[in-house]
Structures are given as C-alpha cells and as structure tokens.
Symmetry: C2
Subunit: 121 residues, 2 copies
C-alpha cells in the first residue's frame, strides 16, 4: 500500500547494537512533526515570542506592542498575522483599536515550561 521503498539491511550501520527491527520500528513510531514543528517555529523568533509573552500577561493593541518591543507597527502586525493564522492569538476590535490576546492554553503551558528554566545557560 505504501509507496515507500522497503528498508534494506544494507542501509544500516553494520554491527550496530540495535538491529534492523529497531530502526524499522523507530521509523514507524515517529509521529507527524508538522504541527509541533510549526508551533515551535512560531515561538522561535524573538519578536513573536515577546508578543506571546506580553499577551500571556495581558491584552495589548498593536501600537502599544510595537512601542514596548521597540519595533514598527507594520512589523508587529505582520507577526500578529502569522500568530493569528496559527490560532495562537485572537484579535478583538475595540473602537478603532484592535486588541490582541492569547487564544491557546497550549502556548501558555509551553511558555511556562520554557521560561521556568530560562537563565540556566
């Protein structure tokens, strides 16, 4: 059914302590990395990570985010678009402002975990 070529024994390190079966099993057990990789990638850029951090602690409009981050409104808006597309943040229109907030408990848990150890360099 699968179009994958069969794994051959020659593809393995000879005399490796783990056998053919282990490599096959490891390959089969590998979950899809797509979503998780995208998530980490979104969080792996300092401007976006800062935005997520700020929204973790409160709600902010675009202009103030840009001020706090010493960045341009345009740049912040571009990053917010990405975060919105990934449903990590949500936008609420309030008058002529758009106020952003976190939209994913998942992200809070990851940040909590990540910043817990921060400064262990």
């Amino acid at each position: 059914m699968s179009c994958e070529p069969e794994l051959e024994r020659e593809d393995l390190c000879e005399a490796h302590e783990v056998d053919f079966r282990s490599v096959e099993e490891a390959k089969a057990s590998l979950p899809d990395m797509g979503y998780v990789a995208e998530l980490f990638k979104a969080m792996g850029e300092s401007t976006r990570l800062s935005i997520l951090y700020l929204l973790w602690k409160g709600r902010w409009c675009v202009h103030d985010l840009a001020t706090i981050l010493d960045s341009s409104v345009s740049n912040v808006s571009h990053h917010l678009r990405l975060l919105r597309a990934m449903r990590l943040v949500k936008a609420t229109k309030e008058g002529r402002k758009v106020v952003y907030s976190l939209d994913d408990d998942h992200v809070e848990a990851l940040m909590s975990e990540a910043f817990k150890h921060a400064g262990h360099s």
Copy 2:
C-alpha cells in the same frame, strides 16, 4: 545608567485603557528572550525535532538517524552540530560510531508538553 531613550507619552496610543505606566512596566518586565527563542528555534525545524524525538526515546548513531529520517548523514550531522552547540544533545564515541543522546531534561519536558496536544488542529 541605561542608554535607552526615555519613553515619551506621544509614543502611546492615546486614550488607551492602559496608561503610560503600564507600557513602561511591561517593557521593563520583559525578560530576555534570547535563550528561549533559540531553544524554540532549534526545536522548530522538523528534521531537528525528529532527531530530538528519537533521542528522547533512545540512543542512536548518526547513520541510523539518517536512515530513520530518510535524510543524508551529512544533513543529520549538520543538525546534530547545532543541537550539540546548544547542549541539547551529547555525543559519545563508541568504536568508530558516535552515539547521540539527549543532554537536557528541559527539552524532554517541552516535547512532552508539545506532543501531548499534538493533533488538536
């Protein structure tokens, strides 16, 4: 002491419900994102994330990692170098092989958290 220019009131959204003080405080409270962003960036690439996942579950030499990931030894080795430089994985020479394993509990905790929700798209 700081070379930062003083924040001016004009830099703020007028009539924002949060006041000048909040923006100043938010700016001051913002932790350094450097390390955490680097960490997420390292994990935000599917080949590297897969490597970390595999090493989370066991120990593997470079050749077998490449086989499991359908990638080249060279490519995997380059990624391992990055992960080594960040002290996320460690290398152990065993004969002519180099066996890699995780070198950071932190990463395990993050992966555990991340994959817990995977497939909630």
